[in-house]
């Protein structure tokens, strides 16, 4: 393949995916902008935002990669049914996704303590992350499986679907549920 052909094939393959991610990112940005004013009530909120978003990609990107390998190897049927591998992969993602959310709350609080910056109470930061983590896990795990299965049955390679689905859904639902979680913790506390 000539250099020019290689260049255009990479560009053409990636650009639609990146535009989808851009759309999700801009929407998430509008939600983030609405969150900035809550920072005075809960100092440390903005520290958690990039960490929370990045972890969504790490946890559910890994799930997507695993499911797509499973489909390729014929280890999984592309359907929601009681399959031991599917059940185990889903349980692991719930534990990883919710567990790391709690860790983010704790680590953020500790970092603020070390820096001597103002910080919301530990239970407030952990509470926000826990609620946002649980809600995001449910939507991302089932949404991701639904889209991968549907795409696979229609003949799309799941390897090409996972990245953009995770980035876009993760940004959108991650920020929306974080804003919702802030509202809930504000009311309860």
């Amino acid at each position: 393949m000539s250099v020019r052909q290689e260049f255009w094939s990479i560009y053409r393959e990636a650009i639609p995916i990146l535009f989808i991610a851009l759309g999700g990112g801009l929407f998430a940005g509008v939600v983030l902008e609405g969150m900035v004013e809550s920072v005075e009530r809960f100092p440390g909120l903005l520290v958690m935002v990039p960490v929370f978003l990045a972890t969504r990609g790490n946890v559910y990107g890994a799930l997507g990669g695993r499911i797509s390998s499973g489909l390729h190897q014929g280890l999984l049927p592309p359907a929601f049914e009681r399959n031991d591998r599917l059940v185990n992969a889903v349980i692991a993602s719930f534990i990883n996704g919710i567990g790391i959310s709690i860790v983010i709350g704790v680590v953020t609080w500790l970092a603020l303590l070390v820096l001597g910056w103002p910080a919301a109470a530990l239970y407030e930061l952990v509470g926000i992350m826990l609620i946002a983590g649980v809600l995001t896990s449910v939507v991302l795990i089932f949404g991701l499986l639904l889209l991968i299965f549907a795409g696979y049955k229609r003949g799309y390679d799941p390897d090409n679907l996972v990245g953009p689905i995770v980035t876009t859904l993760g940004d959108i639902f991650g920020m929306v549920f974080m804003l919702l979680a802030i509202g809930i913790v504000e009311v309860i506390v």
Binding site: L18, G29, T167
Partner: protein
Amino acid sequence: MVVPSGSLGSWEWRTIVGNMFPLLVVLSIIVLAAGITLESAEELLERFAILAVMVPTMVDMGGNLGAILSSRLSTRFHLGTTELDPRDRVLWANVLAILALAATIFTALAFGAYLIGLVLFDGPIGLATLLFISLVSGMSVAVIAVVFSFATTYVSYRLGIDPDDTTIPVVTNVVDVFGMVIFIGVSWLVLF
């Protein structure tokens, strides 16, 4: 199903969590640097709402570009098609494609943010300034993503670690941090 049943192997949830959770904690601590940068820029974000709108894309896109390049490089290494020779023209095609993708996406980001600013915030930052901020920080992050992708794919290949497992997540998260720090830094310099 023809697959041997009974043994779940690496599909056992305890194994998956045991393998992944420590890495997730390390990655969270790396990205914490991006979070601290964002929190320290709170005043900037309150004054220029449109910058907050650009943040998620700025954080994700460098990692996306790094992931695309890293997985292509690791496939080429697996297939034995490259020795990291600077005269290898196909490698240069990969690098140029990543830079072209970055230029396209970060131009689109500036236009998108500008339009959102017009509709929602009556934005005080002009299109030219937004383009400057977006392209300068975006292209810097793209160059960093390229350098990191090459370095880590090469090193992990030499060390016999499959880059798909650990290297790519580490690269994308490190590049995320650079994306945030550079974006906030460039915005600060341009707007103050």
